[in-house]
């Protein structure tokens, strides 16, 4: 019986430990972002890695999400004879919800996993220690550019996703199923307001921080991971858990953000 409590206690302590570590990590990362010197080079490079390289996948998923929304929306709305508001249905769904969440999930899979593995390998091959010993702050040098790039890239990628999605919805709803082109756009203009755009930009901003935070912290602390954290297997383990945790966190936060912003 004691054993059970002991085990519960120690695993609870480990969890708290990890949460504390992640918090400190975030704190130092933001500190190193605001502290000079500011070098644009590494940030631009990371924007290329996180942002530009994700564009194709975002274009692709955006169009198809919009198309399926158009398809589903048209069929549902036509049942109540409201296919005229398809434009606002598609655009609001994308801007407020699907654009931010799906882009964030795509970026997690593409850039978050890569980032976690990269930092994890730097850790286990002592490159992070080497930076420390050269009096180069790894938070400043490795992590901060990723955070800045993530915060800038996420809203932009989401915007691309939204535009592509609306285009996809238009393709299916108007061109394929023969809905009215005028009412598609009029309903969109009339119903999408500033607060929708605001929500549609706040969400990716938060998701960007969340993805970079979880992915880089998981890699950064690979050596402290419970029951392992050694070598290639250790890195693959934290990469998997970074992707899972990021994805879950995105969906959880999406609910909370929505309930705050709505």
């Amino acid at each position: 019986m004691m054993k059970v409590f002991e085990r519960l206690g120690s695993s609870a302590l480990l969890q708290f430990n990890e949460i504390g570590r992640m918090g400190i990590f975030l704190f130092y990362s933001f500190l190193s972002i605001v502290r000079p010197p500011y070098k644009p080079g590494p940030v631009i490079k990371q924007m290329y890695v996180i942002g530009s390289k994700s564009v194709f996948v975002i274009l692709f998923t955006g169009v198809f999400t919009g198309m399926v929304l158009g398809l589903q929306g048209y069929h549902t709305l036509s049942k109540v004879g409201a296919e005229g508001v398809l434009g606002s249905f598609v655009s609001l769904g994308l801007i407020r919800e699907l654009g931010p969440v799906l882009s964030a999930l795509m970026v997690t899979g593409r850039a978050g996993s890569a980032m976690c593995a990269e930092i994890g390998i730097m850790r286990i091959s002592e490159q992070i220690d080497a930076l420390d010993c050269m009096a180069i702050d790894p938070h400043k040098y490795v992590i901060a550019p990723k955070f800045i790039a993530g915060i800038i890239s996420m809203p932009l990628l989401t915007a691309i996703f939204d535009v592509m999605g609306i285009f996809g919805g238009y393709l299916v709803g108007v061109k394929l199923l023969g809905g009215n082109e005028g009412s598609f756009f009029t309903s969109m203009y009339n119903n999408v307001g500033a607060e929708d755009i605001y929500m549609g930009l706040m969400k990716p901003l938060c998701f960007g921080v969340l993805i970079i935070w979880i992915s880089s912290a998981k890699g950064f602390y690979v050596h402290m991971t419970k029951g392992g954290g050694f070598g290639a297997e250790g890195v693959s383990g934290v990469t998997t858990s970074a992707v899972v945790l990021s994805s879950v966190a995105i969906l959880l936060f999406d609910f909370f953000l929505t309930s705050i912003l709505i």
Binding site: E118, D132, C133, M134, A135, I136
Partner: protein
């Protein structure tokens, strides 16, 4: 003379393995101290404790009279600006070229123009006999070359204390002699404090001011090479006999 680094009663365990069992060590300033000892005895651990990368279970580590586990992050960074470190596995940045690896400390820590950086980098790389590999990545060069690039990176900012963890292990005799010569030249020039972990006994004794043996988790003396070779300490005695080649003397062979 004041020690540059001082370890006092440092203990460190991993699980049930008690690696360091009360290490006392003073590294004198401006001198070369060699740490010898068998594989897995914890030599690298001593270096990592001195760098402030590992916190001892008990005991203190002082660098320039500052307890590096009691000072804040900023002060620790200040202390580390005087360090030049070669890790046992070189720890080169594997997605950067050789040139960028050596240039990194200069780019991040100084405001030198790129031409000046290029001059310094090439000077240090030449000193370590790495020429014409500027654009290669660490994965594309040999193990010995990695060590030499690591050495070039360690000395690129003219540090006050250098830590070399097995700088010549895995190098052929000629290359390791070359490294020792380069080390000797720069040490004479820059007067830095050096802590070197090495297996190159007895060759390394020529460079050493002091030698210390890590055995059983404790430092056995920090004495001059001459004293070391004549020491009556049983651990040192057996180490000297094993490494200095009495193995082939008739006395030992008779026993085999």
């Amino acid at each position: 003379m004041k020690p540059a680094i001082e370890l006092k009663d440092v203990h460190k365990s991993y699980g049930t393995q008690h690696v360091l069992r009360g290490v006392n060590l003073s590294i004198p300033e401006g001198k070369t101290t060699i740490i010898v000892g068998g594989s897995g005895q914890g030599k690298s651990q001593i270096i990592k404790h001195s760098l402030g990368l590992i916190r001892p279970d008990s005991g203190t580590v002082k660098v320039f009279d500052k307890d590096i586990n009691a000072i804040n992050k900023k002060q620790l960074k200040e202390v580390r600006t005087h360090f030049g470190v070669l890790f046992q596995n070189s720890a080169l940045f594997d997605s950067m070229t050789v040139y960028d690896n050596v240039a990194l400390p200069l780019r991040e820590r100084t405001k030198f123009a790129e031409e000046k950086i290029s001059d310094i980098v090439h000077e240090k790389l030449e000193m370590m006999d790495v020429v014409g590999s500027d654009d290669k990545y660490p994965a594309q060069i040999s193990g010995g070359m990695k060590k030499r690039v690591g050495l070039a990176r360690a000395i690129v900012l003219d540090p006050k204390i250098i830590f070399f963890d097995e700088p010549t292990t895995g190098l052929d005799v000629e290359k390791s002699n070359e490294i020792y010569r380069a080390f000797f030249r720069t040490q004479a020039q820059l007067q830095y404090t050096a802590v070197i972990v090495s297996h190159d006994v007895p060759k390394i004794f020529k460079l050493a001011d002091y030698v210390s043996l890590l055995f059983d988790g404790v430092m056995q003396g920090c004495i001059t090479p001459e004293e070391f070779q004549l020491s009556e300490n049983p651990a040192i005695k057996s180490f000297v006999r094993e490494t200095m080649g009495e193995l082939y003397s008739s006395e030992v062979e008779g026993l085999l």
